[in-house]
């Protein structure tokens, strides 16, 4: 999996590409978020539009990111989740926990609302 970072108005956007199915690269997302928090960037959008498969390890990584950001008075927003990832959020009831948006632009705009 690859992670591409973009900063817009002190909001970090992490564009993920590949699979989130465990291993070091899945947890690298959390490391990236912790590094952003270290630089006082605590509003983060994770763009999942190019993630092909996610399993419970990927969900765990997203939960870890959300917890770290909340503990730093920040917020995680998720954009571009595909139908199969939304289905995973539904069956695990995480759809009620995550703030999800169809596009990165809408997720970014929601911080300003």
């Amino acid at each position: 999996m690859t992670i591409k970072e973009e900063i817009r108005d002190n909001i970090a956007i992490l564009h993920l590409k590949g699979n989130m199915m465990g291993g070091p690269d899945t947890m690298e997302v959390h490391e990236k978020v912790k590094s952003l928090i270290g630089d006082k960037v605590t509003n983060v959008v994770i763009d999942l539009s190019k993630v092909k498969w996610m399993n419970s390890s990927g969900l765990g990584a997203l939960m870890a990111c959300m917890s770290s950001l909340k503990n730093s008075d920040g917020q995680l927003k998720i954009s571009g989740a595909t139908e199969k990832i939304k289905n995973l959020f539904m069956i695990t009831k995480l759809m009620t926990i995550f703030n999800t948006y169809e596009t990165v632009d809408r997720a970014v705009a929601s911080y300003k609302a």
Binding site: S56, G60, I91
Partner: protein
């Protein structure tokens, strides 16, 4: 009944190779895209458990994945070399106290996405047998 087999060392990096193997087998059986995704996600949960929890990521220990195509069913067996576990002892991840936890959803996802999941324990390891049936044609 046809069958295909993949043996991988207990390295989590190998899960992508296993995912592609499962995807190919499910597509060959003409499952629709949604079911192919469910099959890949569910079976990689079983493989991930085998690598991490059963074989403790010891790459001298193997995980064997065997897929059998039988009439309208894809039967997958994942075999590890671990000591086994109590499937009934897993907490429900949907309970409010568990919802925010970072782990503990694998077995639940496995059970949710497939038609049946059975565990067989022996001194040599655990065999997880998982079945996904093709939707009935009208």
């Amino acid at each position: 009944m046809s069958s295909e087999k993949l043996v991988i060392p207990s390295k989590i990096e190998k899960i992508e190779q296993a995912a592609e193997f499962i995807e190919k087998a499910a597509k060959k059986m003409k499952f629709n895209d949604t079911d192919v995704d469910s099959i890949v996600i569910a079976i990689t949960e079983a493989i991930s458990n085998a690598i991490i929890h059963a074989n403790k990521e010891d790459d001298n220990k193997k995980v064997t994945i065997e897929i059998f195509a039988e009439n309208d069913s894809m039967i997958t067996q994942v075999t590890d070399e671990g000591p086994g576990f109590d499937p009934g002892g897993i907490d429900n991840p949907l309970l409010p106290n568990n919802l925010l936890k970072e782990s503990g959803r694998g077995i639940f996802i496995l059970n949710s996405l497939l038609d049946s999941v059975n565990y067989s324990f022996s001194e040599n390891g655990t065999v997880v047998t998982m079945v996904k049936r093709l939707p009935r044609r009208k």
